[in-house]
Symmetry: C2
Subunit: 385 residues, 2 copies
Amino acid sequence: MKSYFSSDFKLGVLGGGQLGRMLLSETQKLDIYTVILDASAEAPCAQICNEFHQGDLLDFETVYNFGKKVDLLTIEIENVNIDALDKLESEGLEIYPKPKDLRIIQSKASQKLFYTDNQIPTADFSRYTSLEELKHSVSNEAITLPFVWKSARFGYDGNGVKIVRSLEDLEQLPNVECISEKLIPFKNELAVIVARNKDGETKTYPVVEMEFHPEANQVEYVICPARIEDAIADKARNVALKVADSFDFIGLLAVEMFQTEDDQILVNEVAPRTHNSGHYSIEASYTSQFEQHLRSILNLPLGNTDSKLAGIMVNLVGAEGHTGDVVYEHIEDILKIDGVTPHIYGKKMTKPFRKMGHVTIVHKDVAKAREIAQQVKETIKVISK
Amino acid sequence: MKSYFSSDFKLGVLGGGQLGRMLLSETQKLDIYTVILDASAEAPCAQICNEFHQGDLLDFETVYNFGKKVDLLTIEIENVNIDALDKLESEGLEIYPKPKDLRIIQSKASQKLFYTDNQIPTADFSRYTSLEELKHSVSNEAITLPFVWKSARFGYDGNGVKIVRSLEDLEQLPNVECISEKLIPFKNELAVIVARNKDGETKTYPVVEMEFHPEANQVEYVICPARIEDAIADKARNVALKVADSFDFIGLLAVEMFQTEDDQILVNEVAPRTHNSGHYSIEASYTSQFEQHLRSILNLPLGNTDSKLAGIMVNLVGAEGHTGDVVYEHIEDILKIDGVTPHIYGKKMTKPFRKMGHVTIVHKDVAKAREIAQQVKETIKVISK
């Protein structure tokens, strides 16, 4: 077996944000030499990895040359230059997740086609190369209002997604390649993280539930385990597994799903990496998603995905009206509460809605954890000095 | 309140070994800028802290100048230049643990005097400025064989401790300041970590048990919780608390104790820092000892010291007959077992008995964890290429 630990082996990571930073905590634990590429010298990983390179993740030459420096390449963000990855792979570099899967996932249009091609349940959709084409379909009544609009590329965290209820809404959209999706009333938004290694060993984490703010339509809490029936949870895990198997995926795949009013499970979208919906695992699981990511890409045995305790995650986002050097107001008050762990991502500047960190709450009882999570959310504020 | 997180605040740490490395995992989680001083450019912390300085921890000027660069100073090893710390403290630098406590603890002779001065139960002892003085006491029959000899300074991990059973044993000892201690037959060796912050908030971790190899007289397993009666555990926690309170300690204090044949608790020695006996806490506790160390020295509220699960730690030490570039043989076999987490300290060279890492085993049932720990110990080998 190859020796990854305290050895000459170099792991390359495209992207040096908070996901990379939490991954570094695991590469440090196992002493895996880690080299990071990110566009910003201020990236959360820059100071604490073994070797940092600054450069554009979408630039062919930059990604290609970076790949030449490492023994195995992975990502912490999917918006990277895939052509460079294809060339590196053809020259023998191991890259996980596989470039072909990243290419499909990068575009929401090709993701949706992949689901229908593989009989994976998903909401009905159409694709358009431009806004004009979409408007044409609306005026033709080929699609009817309301519907969900999604930018084909570069959407994240609800960015690049809009509900179009009127012709005025349509006018606000950018002129980019996009899809329209049937608006599905759903009871719950769920997610399952699947880990799969090169040997095909596969494990799923428990189903988590994204609880939305009743008015703001923003995820407030990620709750593990989801407060749903076992039969629904089994169905969601099986759908997630089917997605991962259809890709013959290697790495971590986060599968976001809707539980519809009539208890269907529909795949919303996937992320080919560690995911916000799995942050609870650092404190609550036997194996954190970040350790599991390493295990899967290095073809090591996968770790136990069960939970030690119920876990809830609250995102720490910049408060409205605050831009500048960050202060975590009242953090000492949440540190007083048992089972509460803040994670600060190392971004010096806050701005409204910027993801600055998260807080995990663990407790034996998920209902009690949910109460504490609310208390945490109402207490800590991410403001500027 | 002072802002420590993503701020200009600089935490200084004297020592950059594995304890520092595990502390960095927590300073990274909270984005606390951390500056490390260590004699070796190859120290486990060197590459992954925010700022690394190379220098001798026992040199006055080096430690003093380092202290001038930081806002608060702590240690990960107690063998540092205390005169420099005294001067820095007198000039207003916050240093935790306090230099006066480090001075007492640095010498086993002054540690023992401290226990007797504060009515803390400990084995009877005598102190000697040299080996000649000790030999004189033996020939005078002021002390009788067998007894325990301890070097007053720079002992660690059983180093600097010998049982003297014969006059020949006496001849093998180095000529240094030392103590002799009554040889106490004991049932168990126990340890309790106490955390205390500047406000005087105090918490104790559960009692752990050091299980020794039946022949080799070496700690094989650290087991939490200790498999002892509740009344004994309460007594041990109370003794540990009394030690910390007597020091008016700030930081983490690891108190090692003997449970004698007649169920007395005697303090063996203390370490003014995170400790090998608390490594299990990373996976098993609500708050790891490393996070707790930060909370205590920064005068933050202390975290919950309860365990999520039973935890057992196995040290990974270099195998006999192996010196050179390290390989962790069969690590993939232990990764197959649920609840098993290896920690690799990042030392490139192994040599016999060098501490290279540890493995934590967590399980709901401590007896089952103990079985798995044995399996782990019998499987993984730290060898050279």
